[in-house]
Structure formats: structure tokens, C-alpha cells
Amino acid sequence: MSLAVGSGRGTGGRVVEVVTIYVVCGMAALVFSGLIVEAVGSDWTDVGKALLNGSVLKPGRWGGTIGVTIPLAMVAIGTIISTKANLVNIGQEGQLLVGAATATYVGSRISAPGPIVVVLILLAGVLGGALWSGIAGGLRYWRKVPEVLTTLLLVAVASNLVGYGLKNPWLLLDPEAKLGNRNMVSRQLPLDTRMPRITLWGNEISISAFLAVALILLVGWMLSRTIWGFRLTVVGQNRRVATRFGISESAHGMIAMFASGGFAGLAGAFMLTGGDFANYRLVPGFSVNIGWVGLLVALVANNRAMAVIPMAFVFASLRTGSGFLASTGIERRVTDVVQGLIVLALLLPPAIMFIRERRRALASARSRV
């Protein structure tokens, strides 16, 4: 956390250094991906063009990309909150699913004016996700079980739970679904309970986008400008200092876990009501790795709230861009490869900078004996 304004430490040179490292690593990832593509006999320029076209260039595409950016950004901003408290939450995929499930349950059962149901759906998503991460939080603070393990384990449980729900009409299954495995889906959300969509420059986007941006700004502000954010940071950086000054580690930690899961659940709700995913239905495999990738977005954005939106957009582009790959005759999975390589490449700059920063620090500290 930094309340510093203009620390004046030769920031210009540092910016160049940072950008260079990122560019070099990014290029390396792209080169590797290109090599893999060539190795299988395809043309990397085709792949590149298809990705770009599919994500932003062709008309109407970037709207879809924004649709994917929204849940990724929500998962990421929630992860940043838990990271601030020095908690390791790697269960967003599960929290997202539970949030989507509770949102579906509420959305398909409540009869009330449309806008009210929309709000309830979103709230249900938040509550579902928060409950799921809350379990891990509770186990950590009351039974000392590391949350990195419980959040991970709960992902599988969530997936099975939702799968079970989709088999039973009294839970999530659409009562009118035809029999057989292929139709284990939920009821589709009625028209008036869906997020309104607007058209901007030929692209359709759900208004959740604006809500998402507002939330990100809010969280960023709260973390850096409020006493609550200050206390959360103290808890995350030094538990004993927090205790000494009467800041409750467990209270702040639980809130951070709830918030983290809540945002993942909200992402699920956005995916449901936004329309860019399974057409307003909960289906098996609904989460499509958004939880995992959202976690990656947070880490690659170096846990900075402001970097979340551009990073989420990059990852979203990869996903929507891959939709165009079929026409090039290349297996869709290559985007997983590209994505993986890019993430690995993007992991390096923060790590490199961290090491250099600490080396400088140790040197200057030693020199001031």
C-alpha cells in the first residue's frame, strides 16, 4: 500500500526498466507460441490474425471480449483483497460456481418485478461465493487449517455440488428439460431478469460492465484511502503489530475472505445474467476456468487494482480470439498454450523486479548503519 505521492526516486528510469522487462518477456512468449504452431505445420501469422480478429478487430467482437473481461476482473479484484490480507485464496473457480448456482436458484424462482430480481440475483451470487470462501476462512481462523489447501479442495466439492444440483429439478434443473445427459441445464432466466444490454459503436455490451468498473474503482479507493484498508494492510503485513494495536486479525481476515469469495460469486452472477456465456442458463462446466484465469489476472497484475482491467482484457481477448481459430484449421487448444506461455512469461517481470528492489534495499540499508 502506498500513500506516497511522487516518491521522486528517478521514476522515469524505473518505468523504462519495467516496460522493457515486460516487453522482452511477452515477446519471448509469443515467439515460443509461434514455434509450437509452426511445428505442427500451421502458419503463425494466420493464428495471430485470427486471434486479433476474433477478439477486437472484427465488428462486434470487442463487445464479446468485454463480456469475458467483466467476470475475470471481478475475480481478480476480489483476489487482490484477500492477498492484501496475506491470505492465499486459490478457490475462486469453486466460489464462482457456487455464486452462479445460488444466483440461478434465486433467478428461476422469485417472481417480482424484473429489476428487483436482477438485484437479488447479483446479491445471491455474492452471498453464495462469500459463503464458500467463508468456509475456508472459518477453518483457517478457528482450526488453523491453511486456506490455500481448503480453498483448493473446495473447488472439487463445489463442482460436484453444482453437478448434483443440475440433476434435480427441485434444485437447479429445468423441470422442462428433456431427459438424458445432454440436457442437464437450468431454467433460462426470464427476459426481464437479464442484465440490460446497450449497443456502443456496433458492439453489444451488458451494463454490468459499468457496474464492474465502478466496483473496481471503489475497491481500489477503499484499500488505499480508508482506515479499513489501512488496517487490512497492517494485518497482511505484520500480524503481531496488528494484534498489538488492537486490530483484529481474524475479523479483518474473515472479511477479506468473504469479499474475495463474494466477488468471485458476483462474477458468476454476472456471467449468468450478462448473456455472454451460456445464454442465461446454468450448465455443466459453467465456470469455464474463469475462476482460475481470474486468479492469474490478479497475480499478473501484481495485485494492483488499476492494472486489473487491462490485464483482464488481455486474457479475455485470448479467449474470444480463439473462437476464430477454427476457420484457420488449427485446434482451439493452441490458445491454451499461448495463454499459458504468456502467463509464464508475465510471471517473470514482477519476480525480477522484486528481487532487484530487495537487493537495492538491502544495499542501502546496510550503507546506513
Binding site: I36, V40, G41, V88, I90, L139, R143, K144, V145, P146, V148, L149, T150, L152, L153, L154, A156, V157, N160, L161, G163, Y164, N289, W292, L295, L296, L299, V300, E331, R333, V334, T335, D336, V337, Q339, G340, L341, V343, L344, L347, L348, A351, I352, F354, I355, R358, L362
Partner: protein, 311 residues
């Protein structure tokens, strides 16, 4: 509930159930034994899933190229080792976050393997069954433990080997010290990150071998979904076992049995809740941790990266 009880009874007396359980458990065991070593060194490798998958694919490649099961298994080990080396180098030399690297590797390897599988059509088969005389005739468990395709028996070699390595050799002493107090180990002249990387390589070789067994000893045909979460379950088994080798093996047996239930039960005429069974390993482990967390000692430095000069 009564249903469950009679189901367990029925399963407990069916030979094929034991065989199925053993086959499931052994893949978990190959991976778990390796990850046990890695976690004793203080690392936590979520990429075990990717290592097994790479192992399966590597074995398919190896067999396809040479027609030999042995070379296929070697290919599997090398592939698992390759994934392990990315995890090891990035997390314990380049200081990248080990969870992110692990997660990314899972996605990346799935992508690569799926991509290559759809481009190259590989043909494989299963290895022949080798029965151990006398022992295979033990009722119920005999065929399960001694009447399997020969790669199965490698687990009987690997487990004591790894136990000896970690608990009785100097290398193992250093690995354990690195997992408990890397600063002290460093001051004693031990290269902390090097030991950690080595333990991860070992894990990768073993998990890769497990993947190779999965392909050549069990399924026979490669498919990107062949691993289906076994890597995560192996991870859970290590934790469930309290970071002891015995515990990890027990966990593999337990989880292997429960998960193979899913397959044997329908054959016996039962229709239990599939999802419940699938979540059982996770739920049981969570419950065990909640109840026994205070009694179990994890390696003190588990999942905490080591950089000299930083606490």
C-alpha cells in the same frame, strides 16, 4: 444409509472391486510418493496433475515411436521430469509464485497435449499382466496387488527407494532441513533451492511414471482427459497423510477405493450419489485437517519460497 452399508459390504467381498481400487490407487501413489518428497523439501506443487498428464502423453509417444513398453515408460518419466523442471526452475530459481506456475502448467500442458494429440494420432496398447505366483492366490487382495500388468509393480520399488532416500541418506537429511528451516540449512552450507529443485524433479519423474502406467498399464489409449483430477487427489493424499509416507500411501488407498466405488457400484446394482463420492476425498481431507490440524506437523517452511537475505 442402509443402502450404503450393504453397498460397502458387497464391495468389500468382491474381488474385482479390490482390483479396481488398487489400479486407481497406484496411479495416485506414484504421484503422491514423489510429491511427498517435494513437500518435505518445503515446496507445494499444484502442477502434479500436469506431470501425470505429460507422463501419459510421453509414454504414448515413446511407445508409438519404439513399440516398447519399457521405453514408453521412460518417455513418460522424461515428460514428467520436463514439466517438473519448468516448475522447479521458475519457482525456485526465478522466484515466480509456485501456485501460479503450478496452475499455469496445468492449463498449459493440457493445451499442448490436447493440441498435439489432435494433430498426431498415436497408437498404443496396454502392457501384459504378470502374475506373482503364490501371492496372487491370496483371497480378495491377491489379484489386486500381485496380478496386475507389470508396470504396476514398480510402485513396490519406488516407495521404499524414496523412503530410504529421504529418511536415511545425507541428501534426504538436507532435503528435510530445507523444508523445516531453510535459513539454517543455508548457513550450514546447503544450497536450499537446489535441493528443492531436485526434490521436484524426483516428483516429476515419479508422477510421469505414474502417467505412463496409467496409459500403458491401464487405459491403453491416450485422451487429454485421461488424468481427470488424479494429480489433485494425490496432493490431497499427501496432506491427508500428515506429510508421512505411510500416511500418503494410506490416503492413496483410501481415496483410490472410494473413487473406484463409482465404477464398481453400478455393476453391483447400486446407484449411489456420484457427486458425493467424487467429493469424498476432498471432504474427508478437509474434515481431517479441521479435526487434527493441531496434531499434524507440516514442514515448517512449506510453500514459503527461499531467497537468501530475506526472512
Amino acid at each position: 444409509m442402509g443402502d450404503l452399508f450393504s453397498a460397502v459390504l458387497d464391495v468389500g467381498t468382491t474381488e474385482s472391486a479390490y482390483t479396481a481400487a488398487a489400479r486407481f490407487a497406484v496411479v495416485l501413489a506414484f504421484a503422491a510418493v514423489g510429491e511427498w518428497v517435494a513437500e518435505r523439501a518445503g515446496t507445494l506443487n499444484i502442477s502434479v496433475e500436469a506431470m501425470i498428464l505429460a507422463g501419459a502423453f510421453g509414454a504414448a509417444l515413446g511407445y508409438h515411436a519404439t513399440g516398447s513398453v519399457v521405453l514408453g515408460l521412460v518417455g513418460g518419466m522424461l515428460a514428467g521430469g520436463a514439466v517438473a523442471s519448468v516448475q522447479a526452475q521458475m519457482s525456485h530459481r526465478l522466484t515466480a509464485d509456485q501456485f501460479v506456475v503450478g496452475l499455469t502448467l496445468n492449463i498449459l500442458v493440457l493445451g499442448i497435449v490436447g493440441f498435439l494429440d489432435s494433430e498426431w494420432k498415436l497408437s498404443t496398447r496396454t502392457a501384459s499382466i504378470v502374475e506373482v505366483p503364490f501371492l496372487v492366490d491370496i483371497p480378495l487382495v491377491g489379484p489386486a496387488l500381485f496380478g496386475q500388468p507389470w508396470p504396476f509393480y514398480l510402485i513396490y520399488l519406488i516407495t521404499p527407494l524414496f523412503a530410504w532416500l529421504v529418511l536415511r541418506t545425507r541428501w534426504g537429511l538436507e532435503v528435510r532441513s530445507v523444508g523445516e528451516n531453510p535459513q539454517a540449512a543455508d548457513v550450514s552450507g546447503i544450497d536450499v533451492n537446489r535441493r528443492r529443485r531436485q526434490s521436484i524433479y524426483l516428483g516429476g519423474l515419479s508422477a510421469g511414471l505414474g502417467g505412463g502406467y496409467l496409459l500403458l498399464g491401464q487405459v491403453g489409449r491416450f485422451d487429454p482427459g485421461i488424468v481427470a483430477g488424479r494429480g489433485f487427489i494425490a496432493l490431497v493424499a499427501v496432506i491427508f497423510g500428515g506429510w508421512t509416507l505411510r500416511g500418503a500411501i494410506f490416503g492413496c488407498l483410501l481415496f483410490g477405493s472410494v473413487l473406484s466405488f463409482r465404477l464398481t457400484l453400478p455393476g453391483l446394482g447400486y446407484d449411489l450419489n456420484n457427486e458425493m463420492l467424487s467429493s469424498l476425498p476432498s471432504l474427508v481431507t478437509i474434515a481431517a485437517m479441521a479435526l487434527f490440524a493441531h496434531a499434524v506437523r507440516q514442514p515448517e517452511a512449506l510453500a514459503r519460497p527461499f531467497i537468501r537475505g530475506l526472512k
